[in-house]
Amino acid sequence: MKLHVEKLCKRFYEPARGEFFACNEISFEVGQGEIFGLLGPNGAGKTTTLRVISTILKPTSGSAHLGDIDIFQDPDAARRAMGFLSSSTGLYERLTPREILTYFGRLSGVAEPALKEKIESLFLALDFKQFADARCGKLSQGTKQKVSIARAIIHDPKLMIFDEPSTGLDVLATQSMHEFIKQAKGEGKCIVFSTHIMSEAEKLCDRIGIINDGKILAQGTLAELRALTGETYLEEVFMALVRKYELAK
């Protein structure tokens, strides 16, 4: 299954700024078993782009397809085929991980006998079985993130969207997050990943889109970006592209 995003725009209004585009004609493609990274500074439009693709926000214009599914025309079908993970875990604090996974699994249409097995296997795979019946409000940030991951993959999605997933995590938790993303890639999932950490993008992404001011300035493999800018390190590549854009503006 392939994700195809075409000229995606999202316009907002703020009294101080007036109307502005948080993402402006964003286009990219992500293939099966590929990690596409959106790399940009804070406020560049990464989160808005991912939120629009995941149907949390409605686009102002543009289209997005996941295989045969038109994401904006058939959002329910699209949501059934995607999992979204952000740095904010968004867990109901009074529920236990088991209750959360059961709730989301049922609503995502996972059959009841298979759901129990799936939940148990996720507890083991992500190593938090001992916290399965503790309230989420009592869990550490790392464990909450594990519950969040389990919730995002409970329905075995074909597309995984990660919005700065390692923000606020310690080194160990970040490492296991990276392992999880690589594992998802190995399973042939289509992965979109946003970050502002250059090393993370360099380590994980097959292709990178440099985003700034709501626009994708350049996209390609790391080698292609290096060739385009003539710089060696990703940080320098990024700065060269941003400078070029600012000058052109």
């Binding site: 209004y13 703020e14 009294p15 149907t55 926000l57 329910d76 968004g90 109901y92 995502s108």
Partner: protein, 394 residues
């Protein structure tokens, strides 16, 4: 603290209603040849502020047409008081009887005695009601003070209704906090995103939210009603402590039709108030701002139902369009024995329509994450831009 306050409040309203009926001017006419005895009675009645004498050429006809409330006639061995059935006959009869029998009974007795009337006759005012038929003929339905029918229940305030309406305050509060939890708190805890990512339609999510809030509101209101009813029933069972409560003006029962009406109105109000509260909090992004935004709507919502207890405020073709108040007036009508009519249908339709519109707007603010300030700001900006362009081109 709330229960005693509400109990006192409802007692005051009952008394207010009773006093309001008592203090109405009762017009009366004297029929037939006057004698000294009648003149004396006339003089006594005129001392009372709510008795007003009117001159009638044809007292019986005027009584039948409702131009006069009562007619006093000298009979052979007693004085007859005839009152109009179309008016609040039972209250009038009770009022007149009570007045004549209590405060100035002694004065009357002396007056009658001095005019040569027997003492027992001084108490023998025959309260006669006229049941006026379409043909204009009259029919006696009661004969003497001893035999008069009890005060008509429909004229009185039901204590059950009072408690029921006061328990709506708890229904409002029961809707306010869960509605904040399903809207603003979802944003504050960032759980709204995960709800939006579920493969179910936004309308279904809204339906789930309003069902949850309505259930909570209805249950908290009903539990409150049951507890207030129990406390009040226990207190009022000791009626000796509250002599005015033991009067016929207080009805304290609940039949099957009223119970069904109560549950139906409760559910309708629970859905309506929940929808309004969800709308009021849908554009808030923090619990604190939601608490601020709900204060004013909650105040209105909590003040409207008790208004239904005001005397003479009834469900009619105008009041049926006022949301919330119309539901409580419908409840009052059910308790007064008003049969099911078109106003009930309008009340249900208006309540459901307002709920639907509130939820539709809440859905936009919640899931499209529309900031009303930004939305109207953008409209104002574009209008200003268009206006300035026109000015420039001119």
């Amino acid at each position: 603290m709330l229960y005693p306050a509400l109990l006192v409040g409802s007692a005051e309203l009952v008394m207010f209603k009773a006093d309001s009926d008592r203090d109405k001017n009762i017009t009366y006419a004297v029929s037939g040849p006057s004698d000294k005895g009648l003149e004396q009675i006339d003089a006594i009645l005129q001392k009372r502020k709510h008795f007003k004498k009117v001159e009638c050429a044809q007292p019986e006809k005027d009584l039948a047409e409702g131009k006069v409330d009562a007619v006093i006639t000298r009979k052979a061995d007693y004085v007859e008081l005839r009152v109009n059935q179309l008016l609040k006959v039972a209250t009038l009869a009770t009022t007149i009887n009570d007045n004549l029998k209590s405060a100035y009974l002694q004065e009357l007795t002396e007056a009658f005695s001095s005019k040569g009337l027997a003492k027992e006759n001084s108490q023998g005012f025959a309260i006669v009601s006229q049941n006026i038929t379409a043909s204009g003929s009259t029919q006696k339905i009661a004969g003497s003070p001893e035999g008069r029918s009890r005060v008509n229940k429909l004229e009185n305030i039901s204590a059950t209704l009072c408690l029921m309406i006061f328990s709506l305050l708890m229904l409002g509060l029961g809707a306010a906090y869960p509605s904040i939890a399903v809207t603003a708190e979802e944003f504050e805890r960032n759980t709204i995103e995960t709800s939006c990512l579920l493969p179910v339609s936004r309308s279904m999510i809204m339906l789930g939210k309003v069902a949850a809030v309505s259930t909570f509101a209805a249950v908290s209101g009903l539990v409150n009603f049951v507890s207030m009813y129990s406390v009040a029933a226990l207190v009022l069972s000791q009626a000796k402590l509250f002599p005015r409560f033991s009067s016929d003006h207080l009805v304290f029962n609940l039949n099957i039709a009223q119970t069904l009406g109560l549950i139906a109105c409760y559910l309708l109000l629970a859905v309506l108030i929940s929808a309004l509260m969800i709308f009021a909090t849908s554009f808030c992004r923090t619990v604190r701002s939601a608490q601020q935004w709900t204060t004013f709507p909650l105040l209105i919502i909590l003040l409207l139902p008790p208004c239904a207890l005001f005397p003479n405020l009834e469900l009619n073709s105008r009041m049926m369009w006022v949301p919330i108040l119309n539901c409580t007036l419908m409840l009052k009508a059910i308790f007064s024995g008003v049969p099911f009519n078109y106003t009930f249908i309008v009340v249900i339709a208006v309540s459901l329509f307002v709920s639907f519109v509130s939820l539709a707007l809440a859905r936009i603010f919640l899931f499209e994450q529309v900031d009303p300030g930004a939305y109207f700001g953008r409209k104002a900006d574009s209008f200003a831009r268009r206006f300035s362009k026109k000015e420039t081109s001119a």
